[in-house]
């Protein structure tokens, strides 16, 4: 007697889109982390509504609660900062008006370093200076 062959239940898990997305995510977060680590230090900014959304700046100057000036992960002295800002101005064809600087300062600190930084920017005629604040939810 000829018996009917039992039907095979083939369970297929298509992993291709999953792997695609997982790799894409890994690359995305690695890139984003690198960029944010380079420019923005983890600071507690002043809680203010601000006057505009944050724009892309040529240079981001971080001032921590202790008054240390950090640019692109490196702690700079006031003299080094002046040299770095001059370099940015030179890169912008010696046009200080073309350089946008974002100053991110920790709200728990005092104005000493902040005043020094703003003084340097004003002396170098960098007029497009933005102070970062954190809008409250």
């Amino acid at each position: 007697m000829r018996l009917a062959r039992p039907r095979e239940n083939r369970l297929e898990v298509n992993m291709t889109p999953m792997i695609d997305i997982v790799f894409l995510l890994i690359i995305f977060f690695m890139t984003v982390n690198q960029i944010s680590d380079q420019t923005n230090e983890p600071l507690e900014l002043s809680k203010q509504p601000g006057s505009q959304d944050q724009s892309q700046g040529a240079m981001t100057i971080n001032i921590d609660a202790a008054g240390q000036i950090v640019v692109a992960g490196e702690t700079l002295s006031v003299i080094d900062l002046a040299a770095a800002v001059s370099g940015e101005v030179e890169r912008a064809n010696n046009d200080p008006a073309a350089v946008t600087v974002i100053v991110r300062a920790d709200r728990r600190g005092d104005c000493r370093s902040f005043n020094q930084v703003v003084g340097i920017l004003a002396r170098l005629d960098v007029s497009r200076v933005r102070f970062a604040v954190e809008s409250s939810p």
């Binding site: 297929e12 898990v13 298509n14 992993m15 889109p17 999953m18 997305i21 997982v22 995510l25 900014l45 002043s46 203010q48 509504p49 601000g50 006057s51 505009q52 959304d53 944050q54 724009s55 001032i63 974002i102 300062a105 920790d106 709200r107 728990r108 600190g109 005092d110 104005c111 000493r112 902040f114 005043n115 020094q116 703003v118 003084g119 920017l121 004003a122 002396r123 960098v126 007029s127 200076v129 933005r130 102070f131 970062a132 604040v133 954190e134 809008s135 409250s136 939810p137």
Partner: protein, 141 residues
Amino acid sequence: MKLSSRSGRHAAKIELQMTSMIDVVFLLLIFFMVTSSFRETERELDPAVKIERQSGAQAADLAPTIIRIVRSGGGDFVYQLGGRELRDQAELTQVLSQLENQAEGAFVRAADDAPLDMAMSAIQAAKSARYRTVTYQPPDA
């Protein structure tokens, strides 16, 4: 004559396995929902910056408003506006809004040992009071 049809048994069955994709999409959605609630949006204040120069006296009918952040007699920092001493940002905003020299602009000057948060609050108060230009002026070293 019988022609074989394209449809029917011989047609290749295209199956799209959407389960894993949907899983990942939901996972992503949850991830972004959770992280976005923790991160606060950064915004900007855009004052002009200028160095204080004592000789730069301005001759105008309506002088610009100068907000100083100084230590009061009690030892704590206050916003000094002319002869008045104001303690909080809301009060400062209210007083600035009542002035009529918004077109002349406002200057914010903070002493070196003043809290930075107060400097930002003063700039924000002047912006909220609709001053046309707000200038931050550090004391000249």
